[in-house]
Symmetry: D3
Subunit: 309 residues, 6 copies
Amino acid sequence: MFAHNKRLQYSVHVSECNPALANLMLEQFGGPQGELAAAMRYFTQALAEDDPGRKDMLLDIATEELSHLEVIGSIVGMLNKGAKGQLAEAVDEEAELFRSLQGAGNSSHVTQVLYGGGPALTNSGGQLWTAGYIDSIGEPTADLRSNIAAEARAKIVYERLINVTADPGVKDALGFLMTREMSHQKSFEKALYAIEPNFPPGKNPGKPEFADLYANTSQGDGDMRGSWNSDDNFNFVSDREQLLAMDGGDGLATTKLSAKEKSTLKAMAKRTQSNPDLDPETGAELGMAGNGKPKPSKRPSPPSSSKRH
Amino acid sequence: MFAHNKRLQYSVHVSECNPALANLMLEQFGGPQGELAAAMRYFTQALAEDDPGRKDMLLDIATEELSHLEVIGSIVGMLNKGAKGQLAEAVDEEAELFRSLQGAGNSSHVTQVLYGGGPALTNSGGQLWTAGYIDSIGEPTADLRSNIAAEARAKIVYERLINVTADPGVKDALGFLMTREMSHQKSFEKALYAIEPNFPPGKNPGKPEFADLYANTSQGDGDMRGSWNSDDNFNFVSDREQLLAMDGGDGLATTKLSAKEKSTLKAMAKRTQSNPDLDPETGAELGMAGNGKPKPSKRPSPPSSSKRH
Amino acid sequence: MFAHNKRLQYSVHVSECNPALANLMLEQFGGPQGELAAAMRYFTQALAEDDPGRKDMLLDIATEELSHLEVIGSIVGMLNKGAKGQLAEAVDEEAELFRSLQGAGNSSHVTQVLYGGGPALTNSGGQLWTAGYIDSIGEPTADLRSNIAAEARAKIVYERLINVTADPGVKDALGFLMTREMSHQKSFEKALYAIEPNFPPGKNPGKPEFADLYANTSQGDGDMRGSWNSDDNFNFVSDREQLLAMDGGDGLATTKLSAKEKSTLKAMAKRTQSNPDLDPETGAELGMAGNGKPKPSKRPSPPSSSKRH
Amino acid sequence: MFAHNKRLQYSVHVSECNPALANLMLEQFGGPQGELAAAMRYFTQALAEDDPGRKDMLLDIATEELSHLEVIGSIVGMLNKGAKGQLAEAVDEEAELFRSLQGAGNSSHVTQVLYGGGPALTNSGGQLWTAGYIDSIGEPTADLRSNIAAEARAKIVYERLINVTADPGVKDALGFLMTREMSHQKSFEKALYAIEPNFPPGKNPGKPEFADLYANTSQGDGDMRGSWNSDDNFNFVSDREQLLAMDGGDGLATTKLSAKEKSTLKAMAKRTQSNPDLDPETGAELGMAGNGKPKPSKRPSPPSSSKRH
Amino acid sequence: MFAHNKRLQYSVHVSECNPALANLMLEQFGGPQGELAAAMRYFTQALAEDDPGRKDMLLDIATEELSHLEVIGSIVGMLNKGAKGQLAEAVDEEAELFRSLQGAGNSSHVTQVLYGGGPALTNSGGQLWTAGYIDSIGEPTADLRSNIAAEARAKIVYERLINVTADPGVKDALGFLMTREMSHQKSFEKALYAIEPNFPPGKNPGKPEFADLYANTSQGDGDMRGSWNSDDNFNFVSDREQLLAMDGGDGLATTKLSAKEKSTLKAMAKRTQSNPDLDPETGAELGMAGNGKPKPSKRPSPPSSSKRH
Amino acid sequence: MFAHNKRLQYSVHVSECNPALANLMLEQFGGPQGELAAAMRYFTQALAEDDPGRKDMLLDIATEELSHLEVIGSIVGMLNKGAKGQLAEAVDEEAELFRSLQGAGNSSHVTQVLYGGGPALTNSGGQLWTAGYIDSIGEPTADLRSNIAAEARAKIVYERLINVTADPGVKDALGFLMTREMSHQKSFEKALYAIEPNFPPGKNPGKPEFADLYANTSQGDGDMRGSWNSDDNFNFVSDREQLLAMDGGDGLATTKLSAKEKSTLKAMAKRTQSNPDLDPETGAELGMAGNGKPKPSKRPSPPSSSKRH
């Protein structure tokens, strides 16, 4: 069960209202690398987890991410606070309010008009948050790697936001949030490696003949070798013929069909064949030159008026 | 530039048509862990990459994932081949076709009716593919971790599909595709660790006082200690007061406001206050008991007919 | 700041695993009327709220909804627990696992294969949760009405789930969750009516001449009168001419154009005119009858083989 | 059946083209509180409605909302009319057109380039309209409350648009549209309260012991009492122990498992345990310091060139 | 302005309730080829159209499509009518209702539980309708082709639905709707060819040297020649070298950089290089074998209890 | 199987970095008319296609579209190259970086902050790519028409991008891409007309009595006649009575119900009737005037402090 205390995990003291900056901050509120995505990624994993250690850790971190959602949402709220009142009370002239919306910076008109300046579950461009951002699949050696990656991405987005924020209070809180992602990444790394073995993920060992193959499918000037495709680590194959039908078969897709399926497919094929022996006139050719014949004037009334019905 | 050869990277020989199995296979065609997501994740990274080694590797693997998209899509096409003809030519009675659609298994009616049995860019439940599945952010120490995690997830989904597939030809091709994900994971691991250092991701070192903190935010029976939150590795904090306002401040969110912003906000607050000193009657209370008074019968005609206009 | 206790707000004791029922339960986990939508609706409002009473109430209820998300997610986890192990460990034959996936009921194959049986942020049909479900707009007389409506809808969906659930433990927990929605609705009603006046919402009083008009735009057999369109309460207008251009104007859409805009538009109009004086042959007509002429046999080789390149 | 008259329900006379203002107006064309959402909310309800009075009212209002969609869409079309011709005919220099796109205000480049200046079913930020905006669930005491709330929200968004619009013709038409939302809200209120009783929504009365409970889950400085949580109206509970496991049980989630389910889960648990007794080295630690050993120089050629393949 | 008459454009007389068939019918209510998509495609074009003939035609057909939306939605409502009452009044036992939901066919549980059996703006698989289905771009020679194609697709989906529908009343109404799509296609064809010329679409004639080129990018067994790539109609190029850098240039992507941009990029490249001269140990290798050292037993208490905090 | 060569199909030489222009270019990378949508439209058709000629053509063009995706993505990458380094290395002051993000033009902040300047699978407004853009349905006479229309739309969007691009290198590459769309359209036209007959699409001939009907559903000033609704080509019906219930029936929607269904529906109707004979007080009326009575002062402490809990 969750409980809440009205004090934040980190104080937010904003120097002045700035709706354009508020909009940028939405990236970590309702964006793909943001705090709701983080909280829900770990929370959904925790609910399905049977391992007591991981379950506890996932709940700890999910709960903290909710507190971070509150911090970043409070930053948005503070940066928008002045503009919110101006628009709701409409004490200024319309043209001035319009200019302030447009001049406030990219997209802030959306959050002002639609959300009244409140923090919205969108990214900084207005894209609605979607559960497609969450990649939990219920297997710990995969999910922990997803979590490690998610924390790394979130760290980078915070770093970028810090790089463009001049307000010291906002910058300070962003620094806290960014650092916590680093700490979470470390916990997830520990939990992953405490599963032995954890590679390959899952239970099925795969087909050994393809496990160390490196397929050099992009060729031409720019080919490089390194540990990721070196002969020490991989069977490096450049010959494209070798890469075709690697099962040694015909490289075709086939299926067995019943007699009825066969005859139906044959009927369909016949009905819908694009006949290679024809050179038909097409709509494009019709469209290239005027083909319309003037309409026979069945009606005695002058064309211009007869068209009006 | 891309080129294509009509032979597949792995032969697909399906034993019999099976639209329900076809639908499951869509998970790796147009699902979040599927081959289009993989190909586009690496391809978008490659286009923005300046490091020649990584660029080459990303193009190699992106290109191979497109070939995998072709293999899994061909499996779908073969499994649906018979049903496609039956529906298009409609040689059976409607009721029989309806039963075959419904009996074919979950959701196969969608792909039959809407996509005519062709492989659709949806997951196995019909959810349209979205670029929200792609988490490239243009920083290699984050993106390579995302790629490692993505390959791990894809490996697991293939393993699950193998576990429920009895058709030997489909199972064989799935085994190939699964194994290749393991190989790709290894390449991405090598490329990540060939960046020194790669942790923390990015350039900003963070605030040291929060980097090793573990916040025990979920408490109660079930708390566990392990390397992910051990005293050896973390500063483990359970005291909730300590976790509030960790900057040592007031834990509030504030912003500086101009005089005009202040007065406008005050006007808005006054206009929209929920007054705690009142105990108003509400819509719910109105709704709990009949409050409607019979309408004054202005019209002499009997009510039942007078309502018809 | 949020804190968490590992005990649930309401105990969940499931009688037996049932993946098909688990899937239905997702409706209130990741569906539009579900607990995440509720929690986020109130939480985003709370962050932007300046009125202390409403802010406190919104935080109280948002926090409780998170606890409800945990309860309903735990129900999903328990109902799927057995199936999760079966698929991951794959101790059964493929065909049997396939049958159990398909037989388990509608769509449970998606959550099994994709999410490994964990609770997913989708509705019961697999549709990904989207922030489009959240309708907070930052004005209390509108938002509180939205909250009242949202609680009413959630109450109904729980009622429907209860009606189809035979498992007594699940039914009991659903009954608790349903009742809490009723309680929340009452709080939101009180808070709305504690704003005086709260109708019309917002500050702008509107154009009085249109405020009590009822437009009888759907006519024919089935027209009815009641308090919602009665002469006592409304100015009921059935005459369609009266409903056209209610400003008393021409009912047209016009704009002033600069000379340059005018001339450019004229050029565009001329270039793209669909000429009413022509009766052109079209692609459809071409398509109705064979029009393809056999291709001149430039190549001496027989057509069937010459087509292969 | 629908019929259409080419005159608008309200005349639209725009003073001058203004693509940035056009974009703002899209909020009520293809945004969540816009006219398509309104029309479809009521229309889908009407089709499923068996009560003759409500069915008639829903059809009346749905039809009027379609006419409003036409009015707001015509505003967009008029505001974009000049820009549309300029871009299509390209009589200006590229750099000038580029500047006009960028300078025209936020996001208008999207509607210009992608939609050619026509009204698009997006909100003012370009987010595609989605049926997730529609919350009809087929129960009148819930749906009518949803409709009341939707009208309230739409009224507010129109008010905000009016506040930022200086063009008198646009302002006038927006005022009409806003006022009609107020009138619709009144009709929906009447229809709701003409159902007796209408609270609680639906048929199931809920569990009385939880119906008047107020859970004070957010505590700390800022707690407030008012009619929404007063002792007169609610059983106000602050003690967190009391809020845990309110059924009086253990607060756990459990399920009964068959012997086979148990043994499979045990096998999975063992395979995937994060062992708390280990302190493993992790990828993050590898990444903190250089760990790469120089590759053994198997090839005599100098490294820099040998890497080129 | 729109008006409505309560009689349908085509009578709907359903033989018996059938929720599974209702769900299939949603494909043309809220699916991509459905009537809402059709109505909105033409309506958005009409609003931006300046050509009087096309504007009139688009309004005629858009209005008719709304009437079709009503017909298909009424079919859904009738097919679900019985199930709706059963679920709302819950006169049956839960287990029986559960079975009827599951047995009713794929996905009907979603529409029952979430939408109460009303017609939902989803496709037959529950995917929410999105404005991404609408491809209007505001250029008539493109939009009319889009409309022609959309009518062709809608015709096919109706044909498929007819093929699986045994209910004579439903089949009859579907036949009407299907036929109307054919008629609309003919109108759009006429309007397209009444623009002279209409190919290529738009104003810019393109680069002549690439206009008749056919790039044989997919090779291998299965290459075919026909009018779509014949020497008569195209310059057929198979040589892959010829297809690279068709401008005759270097085939590279380059940009000019300022000195500052250059130095910053150099710094970034250095910081993030994947060094090809190293063969680092990776996380995958750590994960392949146990690497965790037992934790030093700082605490004397037995491990099992010491882990509980 | 796909192969890749690192040289582009067309060289990209950008004159200077320009993030705002980069963002516009995204329209054809991840937008609805962009190259990914094109490639996937043809590729999914190819996989399901049995006709050898069409399959070959679809693979040829799909493969070329992937190469175009690479070209347009490389343009984006080059235009963003300088900005990417500036943000990642953060050598400038925050305020300056913020201004450059905002000044760079609409929405470029999103791609900078979220994607690090890499090409993202979004349109130029940040909308995530969705498979809803792809309209393949597996019937060649429909799919080829869809392809013809898609090429026409893509041609127009390229034309618009060319019209606003002053950079000669970008303009040149765009011209190539645009021209290729024209060429593809011609191939699709040939393949369509090589199917004889191809109209009406599919197999079912429709109901002849409705095939040539033109329904004049939009009336009033502005009605026009042309070949698309002429008496020569259509049976033009303006009489609205004639357009109602065109089957000659009652225009109603009905279904047969079992006795149990009937009684349940009756119970539901009674429970949820909006009674037309009542004129109830509503929430709106409560909200219009103050109705709250002061709360009884149970507590002796002064109200202002007693509210704090």
